[in-house]
């Protein structure tokens, strides 16, 4: 659904690139870590309130 949704904001799509899932079996790459840092201003306010970004 996230992949196909055209109306998603750019940072939602960037988060998708970071492959954030509950059971993650491989570490973040440098690129993924940099993307996470870049989208932090947009997602930080939801960290403690929205499970998706937890």
């Amino acid at each position: 659904m996230i992949v196909n949704a055209k109306e998603l904001r750019i940072h939602d799509k960037m988060l998708k690139l970071c492959e954030i899932t509950a059971k993650r079996d491989h570490p973040f790459t440098i690129a993924q870590a940099q993307i996470l840092g870049a989208v932090s201003p947009f997602i930080a306010s939801r960290v403690f309130h929205k499970r998706l970004y937890g």
């Binding site: 570490p27 440098i30 870590a33 840092g37 932090s40 306010s45 960290v47 937890g54």
Partner: protein
């Protein structure tokens, strides 16, 4: 957040360069947590992170984190800054020069984030931290000499590693 924390707390660090990027992503994320969440959630999270890094003997991670967090956070950290400073100062005589440089960076970030009044309140704590690292209490003076020295102290270290750096001295002088 939990995924980033899990990587920072992993038993083995596979790639120091990669983990530094992970640490910066974590610090960036925490820096943008709004003031609304600071008093409860974020403070607890920072305390947990500090304890975890200390128990895993990874002071560099915590110090780098605090330097970044204090520099960029929009939260009011006037009340908590002294705690961050104490946590950082405990490594000011670390044998690793890289850690000392990180300590100086973190101290600088903390000092720049708080008001002059709060900086003044740091002075006695800094003195206590230095005393704790540099000297030890060895007892009262001799009764034969009518106990002329009320307290006697002995040096624990030759010199404080932090003061081996011009930037370290400058950092301390600015606040005191």
């Amino acid at each position: 957040m939990h995924l980033l924390e899990a990587e920072l707390g992993a038993d083995v660090i596979d790639d120091p360069k990669r983990i530094q990027h992970v640490l910066m992503a974590y610090a960036e994320l925490m820096s943008f947590i709004p003031q609304l969440d600071f008093k409860g959630f974020l403070s607890e999270q920072l305390l947990k992170f500090q304890q975890e890094m200390r128990s895993m003997d990874r002071p560099g991670f915590y110090i780098d984190f605090i330097a970044h967090f204090c520099k960029y956070t929009h939260c009011d950290i006037e009340g908590e800054a002294i705690e961050y400073l104490e946590n950082v100062l405990m490594y000011m005589n670390h044998p690793d020069a890289a850690i000392i440089e990180k300590v100086i960076g973190a101290m600088d970030a903390i000092f720049k984030k708080v008001s002059k009044e709060t900086q003044f309140s740091f002075v006695p704590r800094i003195r206590e931290s230095i005393e704790q690292i540099c000297i030890k209490f060895v007892g009262k003076g001799s009764s034969l000499l009518e106990e002329p020295l009320e307290f006697r102290y002995q040096k624990k270290v030759e010199h404080l590693a932090l003061l081996g750096y011009a930037s370290g001295v400058k950092c301390l002088v600015e606040v005191s």
